[in-house]
């Protein structure tokens, strides 16, 4: 049982890290992971986390919430048009979309809700998930920070393993015509 939990945690953490790196690389931003802050420790030296996209997910095997929060520099760097608050919601949607596509390769399907945005100082969530809930802090190549919380409850007995499928995998940036 403990082994399963540990295996699932490692698998999900790797999926989230990879999805993050790929997402922001697509918008020209490099990420360097830093240790998540300890309790009562500030996330950044001189900036509070400014704005966050919050998006829910449901499914038979995994359900929970993804929060993508960022300070202003990386959000402004990656945004080409529109308002930051809408952009961070779209980023959270695209990040969870990438995570969804990777979970599909492990035979797990999740359904995404519509993202919402929140803004505040020293944003922090209280984890309710039953896996070693992922919190990831990245320093970005544009300065500032991106912080990801992947808070999830996993179905009992779930073991995340890649599955073979006859279906061709469609990746981000792919274009198909019928």
């Amino acid at each position: 049982m403990e082994q399963e939990v540990s295996h699932n945690s490692e698998t999900i953490d790797e999926i989230v890290r990879t999805a993050c790196a790929e997402l922001f690389d697509a918008y020209g931003l490099g990420l360097t992971e830093r240790p998540p802050p300890k309790e009562n420790e500030d996330h950044a030296s001189d900036e509070d986390l400014a704005i966050a996209g919050v998006i829910g997910m449901t499914g038979d095997a995994i359900r929970g919430t993804l929060v993508l929060a960022g300070t202003s520099k990386p959000l402004e760097f990656t945004r080409s048009v529109g308002q930051v608050r809408d952009w961070v919601a779209e980023l959270s949607n695209q990040l969870l979309g990438r995570i969804k596509n990777k979970l599909l390769q492990h035979g797990v399907e999740i359904y995404l809700s519509t993202p919402v945005t929140m803004a505040g100082r020293r944003l922090r969530i209280m984890s309710s998930g039953n896996y070693d809930s992922g919190q990831f802090l990245f320093e970005t190549s544009a300065g500032g920070y991106i912080c990801i919380w992947f808070d999830a409850e996993l179905a009992e007995g779930l073991i995340l393993e890649k599955v073979e499928t006859e279906d061709e995998h469609t990746s981000e940036g792919d274009m198909l015509f019928f």
Partner: protein, 122 residues
């Protein structure tokens, strides 16, 4: 006036990103905020040459919108391309069966999107 493309997405940022790429290529852009708005815009706007549509939207999702729009024989030849984070094969098959012409997984490359629209509206 350039050919008219309807962009359907609940994200204002995505509508603007897609719109900017299309306008720079000479297209005229009309926007809709969800599938239900998309259905209304298609029936109420003359000369829409193609549609770019998100999948996951409130009120009416993109796949339901395609099915609804294609019920009208007037829209049989209207090219609808899905632009979405989804890459699930079952959804792609469903879009094809509903009458969509293509599927793009975000993020999109502006040059490729423009080339696709130019080809579909030629």
């Amino acid at each position: 006036m350039g050919k008219k493309i309807l962009v359907v997405d609940d994200s204002a940022t995505v509508r603007q990103q897609v719109g900017m790429a299309l306008k720079q290529a000479g297209f005229t852009v009309v926007e809709a905020v969800d599938g239900a708005d998309g259905v209304e815009k298609i029936s109420g706007t003359a000369d829409i040459a193609a549609v770019i549509c998100d999948v996951n939207m409130p009120r009416m999702n993109g796949l339901d919108m395609v099915a609804e729009v294609k019920r009208d024989p007037k829209n049989a030849a209207l090219p609808i391309v899905m632009l979405t984070t989804e890459g699930q094969p079952a959804l792609i098959r469903r879009a094809k069966q509903a009458g969509a012409k293509g599927w793009i997984v975000k993020p999109f490359k502006a040059a490729q999107l423009v080339a696709a629209m130019q080809k579909l509206t030629a």
